[in-house]
Structures are given as C-alpha cells and as structure tokens.
C-alpha cells in the first residue's frame, strides 16, 4: 500500500481504515494492529505538529515482511528530525513530575521491533517493523 494523506488529524480515521484493509488483504496477524496503529498515528501526528514549514501531503507505505509488516512515513520539503533520537521518558517519575509531552515517540521506540531514519534532499523518512514474536 502506498498513499498520501493531508496534514490533518481528521485523516487519522482514513489511515486506520486503510491499515485495517491492508491487514485483511495481506492476512497479517491482527495482534500487531494496536502497535502499528499507535506507531503510525504518533509519527503522523508528530510530522503534522512539528514539520509546519511544508504543506505537502505525508506518504505512508506498508508492505508485508516475514510474520509481520514494514511501515514507512515520508514527509517532504522539511528540516531533519530524527525520531529515533527522541529523549527518554522517565516512566518512574511521580505524578507531580509527569507531563504528556514526549510519550508518543517514546511509545513508538518501545513498540517497534526495528526503526530506521533517513534524511535526504529534504525528505524525512521513518521506517519501522513489527513482527509476531514466538512469545506473542
């Protein structure tokens, strides 16, 4: 699957529907859906919120890999921002010190089996994989 989405949270539902279709079409294990939905949303929202210098659509690509899925999100004509370098979140901090900021990318990094960032010609591309593990 390869499709572009406008830079609006209103498009999250369409992304979810397309992901559901792709999982069904390719017979991908549904136990991966929550992780994939969450990572796609967090990365898409991050691009919409922080790459404000562009109005180009965001490209989402999905393909099957052994026992799972590989997903890429590409943002065009933007500055470099590597989500894999996102700051750690102290999940043991007391309530008074906890803030919502940073949790999204932290969760992506926790949930992905692998994650890779590329930046070239002002194109920012993040690719992650999720596979069914033997322990799942």
């Amino acid at each position: 699957m390869k499709k572009r989405y406008g830079r609006s949270f209103d498009n999250i539902q369409e992304i979810v529907s397309d992901t559901e279709w792709f999982f069904a079409e390719e017979h991908i294990d549904d136990s991966l859906r929550m992780k994939v939905d969450l990572s796609v949303e967090e990365l898409f929202v991050n691009m919409v919120n922080y790459n404000t210098e562009t109005d180009q659509d965001i490209l989402i690509e999905m393909r099957c890999i052994e026992s799972g899925i590989e997903v890429s999100l590409t943002d065009f004509d933007v500055e470099r921002f590597d989500p894999t370098l996102a700051a750690e979140v102290d999940i043991d901090a007391p309530l008074s010190e906890r803030t919502p900021g940073g949790l999204g990318l932290y969760l992506v990094l926790k949930m992905a089996d692998s994650i890779h960032y590329q930046y070239k010609d002002r194109k920012s591309k993040i690719t992650f994989t999720n596979s069914v593990q033997e322990s799942d």
Binding site: E41, L95, T99, P100, L103
Partner: protein, 96 residues
C-alpha cells in the same frame, strides 16, 4: 468513532478510539468532572499518547483535591500501553 458519556451510576464511559483527533472532545468533557471519577473503559478499543495526555491532565487536576481518576474494565492491549507509559504506577487500574 469515539464516544464519552455519563452513566446513571455516576461513572464516565468511553468507547471506540481515543486518538489525537478525539482528544480535545474527551478533555472538554473530563474538564467538567469534579471529585473522584471512575472511567469505564470496557468499550475503549484504542488509546494513543494524545488520549494518555487527557487522562494524565485530568488525574493531576483531580489529585489536587486528593481525589483522582480510577480506570476500570481496561482491556489487555490498553493495559500494555499503560504499562509501557508507567501509568500503572500513577493510576488505580482494574483490568477486565
């Protein structure tokens, strides 16, 4: 589709998908809650960091009055998200 409503029991029920597109609506409703609040998540299918932010902001506000948000009927997938986020140490959580 996301829904949030007050039940006759006084609990607040959420259902569907609490994502970045729905977080503002959830926050608006929960901003109107005072005192101890029980959030029934039995029909909640999905939550992202935007939804976690809603829960965290509401919990911190209610804890200021020494009350708080209690999360009940949490499914396994969402319980995993809470555990990854450290929310299992911040909230009273009852799983299904």
């Amino acid at each position: 589709m996301f829904e949030i409503e007050f039940k006759e029991s006084g609990e607040v029920a959420v259902s569907g998908r609490l994502d970045a597109a729905q977080a503002a609506r959830a926050q608006e409703v929960l901003d109107g809650v005072d005192g101890r609040c029980v959030l029934d998540m039995s029909a909640l299918e999905y939550i992202s960091s935007a939804g976690l932010g809603v829960l965290l902001r509401t919990h911190k506000r209610l804890m200021g009055g020494e009350e708080g948000l209690e999360l009940i009927n949490v499914n396994k997938h969402i319980a995993d998200i809470f555990r990854y986020s450290g929310f299992d140490k911040l909230f009273v959580i009852k799983t299904i």
